[in-house]
Symmetry: C2
Subunit: 202 residues, 2 copies
Amino acid sequence: MTNEGLLLILSGPSGTGKGTVVKNLMAGDPSIRFSVSATTRAPRPGETDGKEYFFLTRERFHEITADGKMLENAEYCGNCYGTPLTPILEWTAQGLDVVLDIEVQGGAQVKQKRPDAVGIFILPPSLQELEHRLRQRGTETEEGIRGRLQAARREIQAAVHYDYIVINDTVESAVAQIQAIIHAEKNKTSRNQELIERILKK
Amino acid sequence: MTNEGLLLILSGPSGTGKGTVVKNLMAGDPSIRFSVSATTRAPRPGETDGKEYFFLTRERFHEITADGKMLENAEYCGNCYGTPLTPILEWTAQGLDVVLDIEVQGGAQVKQKRPDAVGIFILPPSLQELEHRLRQRGTETEEGIRGRLQAARREIQAAVHYDYIVINDTVESAVAQIQAIIHAEKNKTSRNQELIERILKK
């Protein structure tokens, strides 16, 4: 099967448990890398450059973007955020799969530039369950929860643009489903044209 | 994920070990059914109606075909062969996955009528290995082996029209790859539109 690593776009509304799913997925597979975003916002206490984000000056950020080396980028609250392309290209060339944990607009940008990327949308079992999970966190006001649920509805509407959906019922099951998707994608004929030609030539 | 069973088109050149792969795949998953073809040829000694084939008269075969109830059909050496649609529809509605073990022309007919069918092409690791396996069988003349290798080349060229390729290096690995494909396909967004709508409605 193809030796090239996959580019995986993972999106899903806040409260779906996407972060835990990604952590468990990576813990179970040493050939998966996590794409760290770049930002121009200042690091918060405890944040390390290259871990939570690559912290860049505006000049450097715009330089990289102008060079075509941001896979996607956007501005929120006066700060720039983006996905650096170079590590992704290096890793996938080495056969490592790369996970982008990204919101739906960024995901759409990536898919447009890289139609070979695999879009996976993580869904909560239901909006009631999502509300329950958000309340359990205990970190949000009533208004905050309402806002997140509204945002979730909007984001879930974008799920149709993803290749796969995965319901995060239990973390184990969600991880197993993503693993199956990764394996199956490597068997896609579109990723293995060279292999077919090689068999025919010899 | 979707409750509807999948229609799996499995093709691959003679000697690739497709039969063994299918047998092992079915032994490991009680929700897979095998589509038995229909034919107008006479049963050979030891063959049972409904096991190797459904043995039909020409009249009955043409009746079913005229009714649109053959998913594909073809004539070889004066006999008709076809894939009865009714059991496939019944099984997939029950959530059972159905395997069609079919040659490439039949596979193309099925894919045209049912674009949702999942095409999987089983490849030998190499043509040398295929030749080795054909010789090991010890059932073919030198001319027979040459003929089969030529046919294999032609068939492998059709692999590009399949959704997935699976190399039958070991039976266990080929079966695991097909299982991953089945699981991943059930997560395809295109098969789960209703589920997304249901989450948004509630």
